[in-house]
């Protein structure tokens, strides 16, 4: 059976956090969906609070600590990514964005991504579509159509007829991500950090020869 690496970012700040709770549910659902496709999932969950200080230091010094570098490698070398953030003041949390900011902007190209968020009120659910989705689109990731927003009330309600209850939405999003993850070869790609741009000449192109 083939194996795909799934990285999960949980940007919740408390421990335990509902963000982690949602991340776990999404990871489990994705693993099940992949199994249905005959693929094993190797899931690594990163709680960003564990590297919060390292992320700030990286912003200031320009380089990651060994611990943060390992976390970054886990994310960028995955076959698919599940990104879950709390919504703070109408958008993804500052810690979540700071982590994204220390990534090489090209490192998520082609990455299948499932975006999800938690919040106190259902009224912030569109933050996924006006903040999270454009962020990953800018990074040239493939964001699956269904995003999952879990307000506090969602953990104890049956949802409505059109969108279904939280477990239904989790399952639908996981199915979409699994379809892309199953055919993703990102984790086996070899990236040459010294690849020169096409057409590069050490003497330039103008009158220098």
């Amino acid at each position: 059976m083939t194996t795909r690496k799934i990285a999960v970012i949980a940007a919740g700040l408390s421990q335990p956090s509902s963000t982690r709770l949602l991340a776990d549910r999404l990871a489990d659902a994705t693993t099940r969906q992949l199994q249905d496709l005959g693929v094993d999932a190797e899931v690594t969950i990163l709680e960003l609070r564990d590297t919060a200080q390292d992320v700030v230091n990286n912003l200031m010094t320009g380089f990651p600590s060994p611990k943060l570098e390992a976390a970054i490698d886990t994310v960028t070398n995955a076959d698919a990514l599940i990104a879950v953030t709390p919504i703070f003041t109408t958008s993804y949390s500052g810690l979540f964005k700071s982590f994204i900011d220390v990534l090489d902007p090209a490192s998520l190209t082609d990455m299948p991504v499932l975006i999800a968020a938690t919040g106190g009120s259902e009224r912030h659910s569109l933050a996924l579509d006006y903040a999270m989705r454009p962020l990953f689109t800018y990074l040239h990731a493939q964001v699956v159509t269904t995003s999952v927003y879990a307000a506090s009330s969602d953990w104890g309600s049956n949802g409505d007829a059109t969108s279904g209850a939280l477990p239904d939405r989790i399952e639908r999003a996981a199915r979409e991500l699994a379809a892309l993850a199953a055919v993703s070869d990102r984790s086996s790609r070899i990236v040459d950090p010294f690849a020169l741009p096409a057409g590069f000449s050490p003497v330039g192109g103008y009158g220098a020869q």
């Binding site: 230091n57 330039g204 192109g205 220098a208």
Partner: protein, 380 residues
Amino acid sequence: MSTVNSTGMQFGIFTVGDVTTDPTNDTTPTEHQRIKNILTIAQKVEEVGMEVFALGEHHNPPFVPSSPTTMLGYIAAKTERLILSTATTLITTNDPVKIAEDYAMLQHVADGRVDLMMGRGNTGPVYPWFGKDIRDGIPLAIENYALLQRLWREDFVNWEGKFRSPLQGFQSTPRPLDGVAPFVWHGSIRSPEIAEQAAYYGDGFFANNIFWPKEHYMRLIGYYRQRFEHYGHGKAEEAIVGLGGQAFMAKNSQDAVKQFRPYFDNAPVYGHGPTMEDFTEQTPLTVGSPQQVIDRYAGMREFYGDYQRQLFLMDHAGLPLKTVLEQLDILGEEVIPVLRKEFAKDRPANVPDGPTHEALVAKRDAALVASESEPAEVAS
């Protein structure tokens, strides 16, 4: 105190020339004081037996060295053996014609004790202030240097490029001393294009090495060495490598830690970020006894191979002049003599010495003799 460089390694000081408030007493030197302090520090570098003083180039406060050859010209007159260098010369925003002339002039003034380190600069607005676009950083570094090469090597240059007006029959003046251009290093933090450029020309490659972990620079220097060999300048271990470094010392390591911590915690770049303990573990910054500095830097060649030049940053973050001069005394008296011996141990014979004007002239002359002794081509 005269020192004969018997190990092939050159040691020196490089400065960014920041005007920073001393966090221990809240005093800030004036620009004038800082400029005079830099000139004093440079003379001290020769006095304590080091070979190189390299000056940054900046066009924005809090940095003062906007006009490196003015300061280096003064230092040339006040010293006898010191090699005057830059860290770095902005190859992107300076006109290569002016670089060619300024540094050929400095070569004459300093009797050949001059080399340069090319850099792109990391301050975004400097590009538009000098009429350039930061997105052209690499192409500017490539094209400007290609022109600079020709200006120093050809008496009359016809030139057409993308970034400056064409030249027809232009001769930069004065011509390089003894007809030999100053040695050039290329500094880069992360761009393989610049390592490639250095390798193509057989120039030196300098890894600033201060702010990032060694693994990063090991990869970059390894790449440069490999490409140096590819371009036929010699074996990989014969490539010319320079490294930056940073230290603060006291007889007892705990005193060094205590004395340096307020400067570290408030320093430009990394201040208010990682702890000094984390930063010293993750970068070459060494705060402790002279022996700790010796141990750390004697180990560098295990990571980077035998190299030619080690520069230390010693005068930043608001450290007062008196402290900097004391640090240079410790470096010159206790650290560098031991490092010279350590670097000389098992250094392969084919590893070149640090570059000097005399060596470049001798190499050029030897090449001329060799080409004259070859059988002349028969005219057909």
